[in-house]
Structure formats: structure tokens, C-alpha cells
Symmetry: C2
């Protein structure tokens, strides 16, 4: 089968696949995208399952690079901080960052539609309802089957990218290659989505510019705003056990559960019990793999590193994959054979870092955000950041609002933990003075220097 050096195939026309296709088209590549789902411009893919995402700095940076920052803006609702709801319905606000720093609620499907339109304008060819069955990694051939019948097409290109999600067909093909390391790990929690509709007056039922959290120890409920003034809600809850999706079966038990734990939700979700019974329970998986490349095939985004959603970095890290890949590709003159293994090796450690942080953040969100010491520490760290903006950047800010690599953010966060722990006496039970804060900052600075020396 003939193919030019400028031909590229992308498996998967989701968020990462369609963004990458734009990057590549802008560099003059002829890109074909095979996507098993229908055209999102025509059909609402998430009908009944309006998954929401939190777009932040890394994602915006990657969109800006191809001139899309303004294009997506109308789709975004800024969320300035966490709004915690306690069991009595009382709320507590916690800003995500400094003034002017926020994350953005966006609908997966609407963002996907914007990206597909843009890609098509750039000359990318989309073959919707075409499923990749497998990839032959020795010959770089993808086996593509039209969903609606017809013969399987065997096709090749100078590069085939698997941006085909957590259950990637390309990755399944990699699993037959000796030396390909892989793991899939499920949480014991699953999730179920519910919707808070607009009020009768056509308004948001809760404060609009925040991410609402109902932390309940071993489980939690969250709500993100939509442009149509509804909220998309998710209950993260054990799959099995004493209080779990398995245990909550009867109408009475479900009603009682919501009344006990989420009394302020009951009045704003009509038929919450029916919705709960009707909607599917989904699972949460962490996927790790290495290397991300075999021959001229590359897996990207969820296909190589699916993570749990608790740091709001799944899409952002996938978008940053595209940004980093293209930066390296340009600097290495698109010499794929050389750059793919190097990209995989470099990027893998950042993917591992955000994967770990996302798992850790589940405990923070469902449990610690209601903890006095935790909230106090957040405050002290914000004060440190104000006083020493370059030296002390809270881990959440490094991950969400900065270009620190994820692995640096993970590492530096551990040093911050250590310093905060060792100097607990200064901040835990009293309000630290500026000189207290300077003392903590100095201790941290010494630790950072020592650690840098040890790594040289």
C-alpha cells in the first residue's frame, strides 16, 4: 500500500485525537482520523451522560499553541474554587489559586465538536463509525472495520497514533509485543451521574462559578456547572460493601441515603431516586504502560496513561502530550524513529506522576477538604505563595496553573509536605507571623538545595 512520508493516521477522534490532528495538519501532514462513534457535529454522543471536564492551564496552553484559545472560550464556565457542602447543608469556600486563577467547566462533547470542526477546516479527513480492530506493529498496518458493514480496510502511514482511549485497540496490540509493560487497576469505587436542572426561574440552582463538593469520608458527590444552567453531578461511591451501590437497592434506602448525607441536594434534583436507579454505574481505572511506542506506532492520552478524574488532569495531560510531542518533533525535524522512543521515555515519568497525584487527590477531596488541619495548611500555603511567589508554589497550583512538569510537581510537593510536617508547631494551632513564614520558606529552600545537589 503506497504511503507518503507526510501521511499520518490517528485512531480515535476524541479530544486528544482531534487536537493532535490539528497540530499535524498545521505542519503540512495529511491526517486521517478513524473514529468508531458517529460524527459529534450531528449526534449528541453523551446523550444522557453529559460528562464534564475541568480545563486548566496545560490544556489551554496546548489549545493556544494552535490558535484555539478564543474559539473554545464560549464553552467554558470559570470555577474559582471548591465549594464544600457539609451534612447540614452549610457551605465553605476555598479558592483554587491566587486572584485571577481558575479552572473551567466544559462539556466533553461540546469541546469535541469544536475540535472536530476546526480539524476539518484544516483539511483533516475524519472517517466516523470506523472501528480499529487491531494494529500489526511489525508492518505498521491498522485494520479498520466500518461499523455499518463492509469489508475491513488494511491501511498504513508513516505514523499511526493510537489516541483511542482507556480501552485502546492499539494498546491491546502492543500487549503482544515482548517488553511492553502494562497495568490496569480498578478502584473499589465506581461512579454514577445525576443532573441538577436549572431552577423554575431558569437560573443555576447553586452558585455558578465553583466546583461543588459534598465530601463524606469514604465517598463524595460533586457538581460542575453547564452553560445551560444545569449542573452535572457525580457520586463517587464504593461498588460493594456495607454502604455501596450494591447495598443501596430499594427506593426507601436510596431516598434515606440522600436525605441523610445530601439533604441540600434532594430539593434540587427532581426524582433523584428514579435517576439513581436508572443511570448506569461506571468504573474507574488507572492504566499505565511503557514504552508508548512500537515501530511507527504511538499511544497517547488515555490510551497510554488513563488516570482517575480527581485532579481534573485527564484531558489536560492528554492535551499536554500533544504539545510536548509536537515541540520535540519540531526540534528533531520529525524524525519519528528517533523521537518516538525519546518522547515516550520523557513523558512517561510525568504521566506516572499525575497518575499518582490523581489517586492521592481522591482521598483529599472526599475526606480531607472537611478537615480543619488540612484547611489551615491550605491557608498557610496560600500565604507562603503570596510572600514568596516563585519559591513556594502550592502543589495544586504547580499542577493546575503552571508549566512545572508533573514529576517536578510531585517531587517538590513531597518536600513541601516534609517542611510543613517538621514545622507543624509554627502554623497548626496559631496564625504564623510573616517571620514564621519566612522561617518555613528558608527551611524549604535549604531542603530544595540539598535535594538538587543530591541529584547532580
Amino acid at each position: 500500500m503506497p504511503n507518503s512520508k507526510k501521511d499520518i493516521i490517528i485512531l480515535g477522534g476524541g479530544l486528544v485525537g482531534s487536537l493532535l490532528s490539528i497540530y499535524l495538519a498545521k505542519e503540512g501532514f495529511q491526517v486521517t482520523v478513524y473514529e468508531k462513534r458517529p460524527d459529534p457535529r450531528i449526534e449528541d454522543l453523551d446523550a444522557g451522560r453529559s460528562i464534564n471536564l475541568a480545563l486548566s492551564h496545560r490544556g489551554i496552553k496546548a489549545l493556544t499553541e494552535v490558535g484555539l484559545a478564543e474559539t473554545v472560550k464560549p464553552e467554558l464556565i470559570p470555577m474559582m474554587g471548591r465549594i464544600m457542602h457539609d451534612q447540614k447543608g452549610k457551605t465553605n469556600y476555598q479558592a483554587y489559586g491566587k486572584k485571577g486563577q481558575f479552572i473551567n467547566s466544559v462539556s466533553r462533547n461540546r469541546l469535541n465538536t469544536v475540535l472536530v470542526k476546526e480539524a476539518i477546516d484544516e483539511g483533516v479527513v475524519f472517517c466516523f463509525e470506523h472501528l480499529c480492530e487491531k494494529v500489526d506493529t511489525r508492518t505498521n498496518e491498522a485494520f479498520i472495520r466500518p461499523i455499518n458493514g463492509g469489508e475491513t480496510l488494511i491501511t498504513t502511514a508513516s505514523l499511526i497514533v493510537g489516541a483511542d482511549g482507556a480501552f485502546s485497540s492499539m494498546r491491546r496490540s502492543f500487549q503482544y509485543v515482548p517488553g511492553f509493560n502494562f497495568s490496569q487497576d480498578y478502584l473499589e469505587h465506581g461512579y454514577l451521574e445525576l443532573t441538577i436542572p436549572p431552577t423554575k426561574n431558569g437560573d443555576f440552582a447553586l452558585e455558578k462559578n465553583g466546583l461543588h463538593i459534598w465530601p463524606r469520608g469514604h465517598f463524595m458527590f460533586i457538581a460542575l456547572p453547564n452553560p445551560d444552567k444545569s449542573f452535572t453531578c457525580t457520586l463517587f461511591f464504593p461498588l460493594k460493601g456495607e454502604l455501596s451501590f450494591e447495598s443501596l437497592q430499594s427506593q426507601e434506602d436510596i431516598a434515606q441515603f440522600f436525605e441523610e448525607f445530601f439533604p441540600d441536594i434532594v430539593p434540587i434534583i427532581p426524582n433523584v431516586v428514579e435517576e439513581f436507579k436508572k443511570n448506569p454505574v461506571s468504573s474507574l481505572v488507572t492504566i499505565k504502560s511503557s514504552p508508548w511506542t512500537v515501530n511507527r506506532c504511538l499511544i497517547l492520552g488515555d490510551a497510554s496513561h488513563a488516570i482517575v478524574p480527581f485532579y481534573g488532569q485527564g484531558m489536560n495531560s492528554g492535551f499536554e502530550d500533544c504539545y510536548e510531542l509536537m515541540k520535540m518533533a519540531k526540534s528533531m525535524d520529525f524524525d519519528w524513529d528517533k523521537l518516538l522512543p525519546k518522547f515516550s521515555e520523557n513523558r512517561k515519568k510525568d504521566a506516572d506522576a499525575i497518575s499518582n497525584l490523581a489517586l492521592k487527590n481522591f482521598i483529599e477531596m472526599r475526606d480531607k477538604v472537611a478537615d480543619r488541619t488540612f484547611l489551615k495548611r491550605k491557608k498557610v500555603e496560600a500565604a507562603l505563595h503570596d510572600l514568596f511567589p516563585d519559591l513556594w508554589v502550592p502543589q495544586y497550583s504547580m499542577v493546575t496553573f503552571s508549566d512545572y512538569s508533573y514529576s517536578d510537581a510531585e517531587y517538590i510537593g513531597k518536600l513541601q509536605d516534609q517542611v510543613m510536617r517538621e514545622n507543624r508547631a509554627i502554623w497548626e494551632d496559631r496564625d504564623p507571623t510573616p517571620s514564621d513564614l519566612a522561617f518555613i520558606a528558608e527551611k524549604f529552600s535549604i531542603l530544595m538545595t540539598a535535594s538538587l545537589k543530591a541529584h547532580l
Copy 2:
């Protein structure tokens, strides 16, 4: 499709599949085994790749249970200990256990043939050259394709067991099931097999009753005896890097490598350079999964827990799987729905333990067996075992010669490590007296008691 409660399908007629079929046939089940390879009674499956295994207590116990201990005896060559060869060709002997304790070299293919013959005598039906393409875990249907053409057969039974090895087709089907955790991890070392033929006089070229090891730090060479007076040898060696399979390419480099590191091997392997160039390099993978069961499907042996070969427990643990499964099945009246999840949960922790121990033993075999302190410790532990045979069983003996569960062996071994480390002054640079040994044993006994209490 009709099926009786007494119908069982086993995928894979290797060592574990054929042994399990014998167990089940003896309980009155009608067992059909589908195996993709040809009948081992007719064809030598490992022609050119005569893999050797070390059969020890757990494997023998499982064979004895179905009356096969005597049947396999003619195939076994006892190995009483490790025979280490240093770079000058000098040897050093280290017994595996107490007098009368040994492990047994056996050819995979010859043992497999014995088991298949026995299974057929028990009424098991073998369909050779039949490949399982996938399993539908919802309907308990296996899709079986005859290798030599013909239509795919869709079949079911009251239980389907995947004993189809490290690259199990049933496990691949499990990977689509939410909640199925799985990992595959490759070592950076691969292996290559060579053969030491009998001498011109028709004799063994090396001492017959031992497992020969040439430990060389980051790599090693081993040799196991065969009934035809040859030895099957394996070089475990880095796949890439300065000194590796990748780096050794020219005839000169290979010849020089063997002369430098294995001078006593060169005269006894004719054409060692040609053999090295001709034989394939294979990889070494660790596979973990959980749960081992979905619906009425169960994965067993390498299919659920493939381990590296350095503790000689791959086959033994698979055989013990059969033994433990049948023990539980009998005690629970073959109520598969109840017993499969319980078996998986119980056995998984032992599989994890032997998996960890096997990885650790690679370092021991290739590096530490040449280390003075390590050898001294082995001696002291043997003396402790003599003096306190029930209290102090060396970890190798717990794993190889006892019924301790693998997880207990791993745990107790850690406590032994701790005691030996903490009391180093007593044994490292001098010969401990009986009262020194009693002191160590007492410390260990105290630690064990404290640890048991902590677990209650």
C-alpha cells in the same frame, strides 16, 4: 447449547491443564481439553528448546494426590544442591536442604506427555490443534478454532478453566471486564538456551546431581541435567546495554565473552558461538491478575500468575493451584459459584508472594551466591535449622520442601532477615556457638510471637 453439571472445559493441555483434567476426571467430571499445539505423544514440542524445570515438594504433593508420584519418577534427576562455578572454573557446592532433601530436573515435554497419557486413560478428551480465540464471560462460551481449518466452534460447560499459559486467551477476555486488575512486567534480562552434550565416552560432562550456576553479578548461566546425559543450559543476560544480547553480535565478541566469563563451558559446548547466534532470545515476564474468576470461568497457573523462573516454582505453584482448588472444591461440594471467588481471593496472595520471591531470587542467584557473607549466612541458617528444626526453617526450605503457604514463607523470611541483620555481630565474622544459635532462635521466637499478636 446443552451441558450437564458434570461437563468441564479446560483451555490448554500443558502441565497445569492436563494435571487438572486428571483431578477432575477422577471426581467423575467429563473433561474436554482444547490445546493449540499438536499431541505431545506424537511430536516433540520443544524440539530445539528442551526447557527444563525443577520439580519439588509442592509439585510432587499435587502429583501424589492423584497417584502419579511413581509414574513420573523415571523422568526425574535429583539435584542435591547448587554447584557454583567461578571465573577460574573452580566450583563450590551448596546443599539445597537437609540430607535427603533435593529438587528434581525434569523435561517439560516429557512430563507433559506422561500427564496427557494418564489423563486420556482417565477418560479426558483432548482436542489438539484447537485454539481458543476468546471467551464470552457473560455466557460462559469459549470460541474454539481448529488450527488446520474448519469453522469456529462455540462451546460451553458448567466450568471453563483457562490453563492456557502466560499469554492466556481467557485472561485477554477478562481484560474487557470492569474490575479486572492486571499487569504484565518484563525484566530487562532475556534468556537464551544452549546444550552441553554428553562426553565422547557417553557420560555427563559435569556433576550430574546438581544445578550448576555460573553467577556473574548482572548475569548468569545455569545448567540442569537431562536423562540423556546432556545438560540444558540457560544464559540470563541483559537485552540491551554495554554487555548484552544486543551488544554481542560478532563471532569474535561472542567467543571472547564465553572465554572471559565461562572458561570451563567453552570446551564442553561444541560450536558455542554458532549455537549462541542461532538460538532465539526469549523474554521474561511477570503477570499478576485479580480476580482469577469471572462468572463460571477461572484462570489458573501461568494464565493468572506467570512468574520468573528463578525460584524454580512456576510449575510447582501451578500444580499446587490444582491441589488447593480441588481441596476447596471437595470441601464446598463443587459449588463453583461460591468457591471460585473464594479460591481466587485465598490463592492470589500466595501467588503474589512467590512472584516477589522469584524476582528477589534472581539477584541472589546471579550475584549473592558468590558472596562470602551470603554463604556464611546460609551455613548459619542450616545450623539453626538442625538445632531448631521446627522453629527455624530457612526460607528456601519453606518454599521448596514444605507446605508453608508462599505468603507465610515470604513473611517469616522477612522476620528471619531482621533477626539475622540485628544479630550480625554473633555470626558474620565468627563461628556461632550452640548458645549463640539459641540466642538467635530466641530473638526470632520473640519476634514471631509479637508479630502474631499484632495480627490478631
